[in-house]
């Protein structure tokens, strides 16, 4: 502090100034190191070619009632199931208080396309692909840790915390969907 006349001719070092310089240079150093480290970490994030595969179209006309197909979207499997009326009724008859992650079946399908259940086919526990038409609830059973889902893909039993995830999709025509 050059304005401080008392200290101008003092032999004791100006520790305030020294501390400030010390902290300032350390702060600059931290920013610089962060600037170098971030690109080295960020390179691990999904690259442009992975991000480019973000949306697909799929023709539903060949899937009969009671059939399901698994398609690939963003490297992940997606279930497209044409549900029977019995499955829909079973899903809608479940009282909400029996559900771990309460959600109406109606909220998991598109209005007017109630038979089409479209879900990301990864167990919400640790990401295995559940096996269809099995388990105690006639829906899906995950072979890895035994989570069970009902005919609406809602979690009913086992370690998974959430219902099977519905991806963003829309009906382009009555028989064609776009996922993503």
């Amino acid at each position: 502090m050059s304005t401080d006349s008392n200290l101008a001719h003092d032999d004791t070092p100006d520790t305030g100034k020294r501390d400030f310089l010390y902290i300032a240079s350390a702060a600059v150093g931290v920013v610089a190191v962060g600037g170098v480290v971030w690109p080295l970490i960020n390179q691990m994030n999904p690259d442009a070619s992975v991000l480019a595969l973000a949306s697909i179209e799929y023709d539903l006309s060949k899937i009969q009632t009671g059939q399901a197909v698994t398609i690939k979207w963003r490297g992940m499997p997606v279930f497209v199931r044409n549900r029977t009326q019995k499955e829909i009724d079973a899903a809608r008859a479940v009282p909400m208080d029996q559900l771990k992650d309460p959600q109406l079946d109606q909220d998991r399908v598109m209005k007017g396309h109630d038979n089409w259940l479209i879900m990301i086919a990864l167990c919400t526990h640790l990401g295995c692909i559940p096996i269809g038409e099995s388990g105690d609830y006639g829906g899906w059973l995950c072979p890895c840790h035994g989570s069970q889902y009902d005919t609406s893909g809602r979690i009913r039993k086992g370690p998974a915390p959430k219902n099977l995830v519905i991806p963003p999709y829309k009906f382009l025509t009555d028989t064609k969907i776009q996922i993503g």
Binding site: T70, I129, I131
Partner: protein, 434 residues
């Protein structure tokens, strides 16, 4: 160690002396060879040497395998098959590396359980123990990523399940998951980075092993009676006494190792891993490698919500079951190191070992398998999880307070001369000579 006087090593040859003055490498090596070691170490103590040997085996075979392996999702599976069928001696090199991982883990479990029984984690060896736990964690990460490289069905789904564990972290879980995988699902970028890290981590392990041995040489070895070295009569030089003993143990250890590598290279593997990775089909029954089974059973046993959701809770228990090892030096309140002198501890410890093996067995079973009456693996394995944590969090802290230990010998020499059987710990009923 205060008992051992270090005198500066002066080589007789003038050239050696010239070199020694500039880099005291021979003096350093001599100090390692002369390292005074308690004279009562039993064969449980040879596993440190065995582990160093196994790290060397894995690094050497791994470097050779990397000369033939292709870390690409389309080519990896075939390149491993090519190594087994076409590369000269590849069948054996690959088998030594893959069964070597199992032998490595077998040895590390013996090493850890030896430390837990003889109280090797207690003061002044806490840092030594913590470095050991870090090595164990690094080993798990390395083994897991190595398991992914053949890109079979089990490889792929192991990668999917284990990386998914990170998605349980609130808020930042999903971004971290994408960062680890390099995509929305496990794919080629994941395989590439796992190969890179699988090559890197063993060298980090080797570096931590150096620290581990350094931290061992500061206080010196623990020993089966847990009484510190008092004078020179309690020790012998590391070389030739323990170099020979360790070498003999390594040779014996290599007999089953060689049998696995030559005659049963797939005995620890899963047949599904001979199917190339398919992101659209999960194998009907997923089990991890045997050395992860106890922790896998703990992860799976938490299938209920309690304040947190079951997934996060499972992951916390899973991580906690390993991280709790870091705190053992402070959880165990007993001043007596060796389990040989702790009559109650021995029972709880024995039960802990059995419980660990039981968890290992649970990990390989389907959750819905019935055990007793209506109770399934999913139910009864919870008891084992409770005991696993109770051992560390309740039993060890309380035993130190309430247990009456048997009288300790005054020194290693006394124990060796008057009570030879206490060293092996074979007879708990034997009266203590004092």
């Amino acid at each position: 160690m205060s008992a051992h006087e270090t005198t500066k090593y002066v080589p007789s040859h003038p050239v050696a002396r010239w070199f020694e003055d500039r880099l005291p490498l021979m003096g350093f090596s001599k100090e390692l060879l002369d390292y005074p070691t308690p004279k009562n170490l039993n064969y449980w103590w040879t596993f440190g040497g065995i582990l160093a040997f196994m790290l060397g085996v894995q690094i050497v075979t791994g470097i050779v395998l990397a000369m033939h392996y292709t870390p690409n999702a389309g080519l990896a599976f075939d390149s491993v098959e090519m190594i087994k069928r076409d590369v000269n001696g590849g069948r054996l090199i690959q088998a030594v590396h893959s069964t070597g991982a199992s032998m490595f883990f077998f040895a590390v479990y013996i090493h850890i359980f030896r430390g837990l029984y003889f109280g090797s984690y207690k003061a002044p060896r806490e840092v030594l123990w913590i470095l050991g736990v870090i090595i164990y964690l690094l080993m798990m990460a390395t083994a897991f990523m190595g398991y992914v490289l053949p890109w079979g069905q089990m490889s792929f789904w192991a990668a999917a399940v284990i990386t998914n564990i990170f998605s349980a972290i609130p808020i930042v879980g999903d971004p971290i998951l994408q960062l680890l995988r390099g995509g929305f699902a496990v794919d080629n970028p994941t395989l590439n980075r796992f190969f890179s890290l699988h090559y890197l981590l063993p060298f980090i392990i080797a570096a931590v092993v150096v620290l581990h041995i350094w931290a061992l040489h500061v206080p010196g070895n623990n020993n089966p009676i847990g009484v510190e070295v008092k004078d020179k009569r309690d020790t012998v030089a590391f070389h030739p006494f323990y170099t020979m003993k360790d070498l003999f143990a390594i040779v014996v250890f290599c007999i089953p190792f060689a049998w696995f590598a030559f005659f049963a290279p797939d005995i620890f593997a899963h047949s599904d891993n001979y199917i190339m990775a398919n992101p659209l089909v999960t194998p009907a029954h997923i089990v991890p490698e045997w050395y992860f089974l106890p922790f896998y059973a703990i992860l799976r046993a938490i299938d209920f919500n309690f304040i947190l959701d079951s997934k996060l809770l499972g992951v916390i228990f899973f991580g906690g079951s390993i991280l709790i090892l870091f705190f053992v030096p402070w959880l165990d309140t007993s001043k007596v190191r060796s389990g040989n002198y702790r009559p109650a501890f021995r029972w709880f410890y024995g039960l802990f070992v059995l419980n660990f093996l039981l968890l290992m067995w649970y990990g390989a079973q389907e959750p819905a398998t019935h055990i007793i009456g209506p109770f399934t693996v999913a139910d009864t394995s919870k008891l084992s999880v409770v005991y696993y944590f109770a051992y560390f969090l309740v039993i060890l802290p309380l035993l130190g307070r309430y247990e009456k230990p048997r009288p300790l010998p005054n020194s290693i020499s006394e124990a060796v001369l008057t009570e030879p059987r206490a060293v092996s710990g074979a007879d708990p009923a034997m009266p203590t000579a004092h």
